[in-house]
Subunit: 250 residues, 2 copies
Amino acid sequence: MLTNERHAYILALLEEKQTVKIQELVESTGASESTIRRDLTDLEQSQKLERVFGGAILPGRNLMEPSISDKSTRFLEEKIRIAEYASSLVQQGDSVFLDAGTTTFQLIPFLKDKDLVVVTNGLTLVEALNEQGITTYLTGGLMKPRTGAFVGSHTIQALQNYRFDVCFLGINGFHRDYGYTTPDPEEAAIKQLASSLARKTYALADHSKANKISFAKIMDLDRATLIVDEISKEANAGLEKKTIVKVVTP
Amino acid sequence: MLTNERHAYILALLEEKQTVKIQELVESTGASESTIRRDLTDLEQSQKLERVFGGAILPGRNLMEPSISDKSTRFLEEKIRIAEYASSLVQQGDSVFLDAGTTTFQLIPFLKDKDLVVVTNGLTLVEALNEQGITTYLTGGLMKPRTGAFVGSHTIQALQNYRFDVCFLGINGFHRDYGYTTPDPEEAAIKQLASSLARKTYALADHSKANKISFAKIMDLDRATLIVDEISKEANAGLEKKTIVKVVTP
DNA sequence: TCCACAATCAATCATAATCGTTCATAAGCA
DNA sequence: TGCTTATGAACGATTATGATTGATTGTGGA
């Protein structure tokens, strides 16, 4: 069997079965173990597959994390940097609103020992906040399964019982003319209200949100201090006149 | 079986069943207990699951953590029997209040496809309800870390926006003279209020709660229909005159 | 509540499988 | 022939596995 033939054969088998074992290939091709091993090394080099102990798998599917980690680990380090900076804006004893979202989630470890009262509409945040021993109120309301955020009239009514020193919002896009935006109008309403109940509002975003426009408008840029990281100079130049931009690592 | 295959298999099974037992995996994969144990350790390290005594659960739903292994599996079968019976008391389209607690938690699988609107003050219940595709409102409020229950004025105010056809309460004790009791006065207040907003209230309890008296009184026995199982004849005799007792398996 | 028993656990060790490397041979090509 | 490339076998090194042990934890009864 020719080298190229073997390569094609291996890839075809892999495509069909998702995983192949080396022993399996040795038997079915008649080639020696060393040869198969070399084949796999070559094919891995050209990104056609990924080697694992005892065989190979299709690339990129090694860890079955399509949604959860994929999204929440995207720009994770950047989000943590942003979160650490944002936490420095909180005073001892403040009342804080934490929006549902992955960026605000990263704030939580930095809020320990600040004697805060935190209100959030994010299901995932409550658990993490409690683990840190932070006094936490959840707004409640109708839960959106996808994001774990609570929205609706119940949530709005619940929010109106509170006033905040600081309000942290996650956003899906910010744009000089269109302001802060997010895909879900219901969530936008919550963010809007929470901000209006706070003395100071910070919008947290990684660089991928720059100049993005999503469906629902939350507010104009100048209504909140934007905290970003790794933003390009061009994007920054267009924004600075509209609002105060805190660039974490300029 | 390749290591990665096993890992994928474990996660797939976990996703499907919410929990996996080690013994179960040993049998179905043919691998040794040590290997499965190592797999679980690895997968836990990469946040793909969370280990509990005897098996593993999906991560992030660990609010039952102290209880999933000890408290909530205590009398589990009994609780499921009670829950199954209780679910037969719910009509299509009802609005239902589900108290926070391990017994009411078991109700959830039986409530699917009943087109209900469910309100709860239990954090753990929200997640389970959402997985079943049931429209769910969480009251919100201050969260008690130990039980995952929301309590306080926020919760009370939120509750007052609703009316229920049926109200299911978990209790820690019932007694002929002292009525239904629970350790936490705040939780008692919630239970009390929820019941007063409902046309019909059911108190769910396993046999260990018979003639127990806890700190905070919720209400007299005759204010709710008690649903128990495996109750002794003596205990039952003393109660029947006070309230309607449904004994699941007499 | 306390105690005994069973289940489960983490740690350890020996074994088996797999790995990368090296070297020698064979095949293809000028 | 001389050169390159592919192959297979052999080696010690690494990794995964399975069995064992003593410790820990949960369970059920007194």
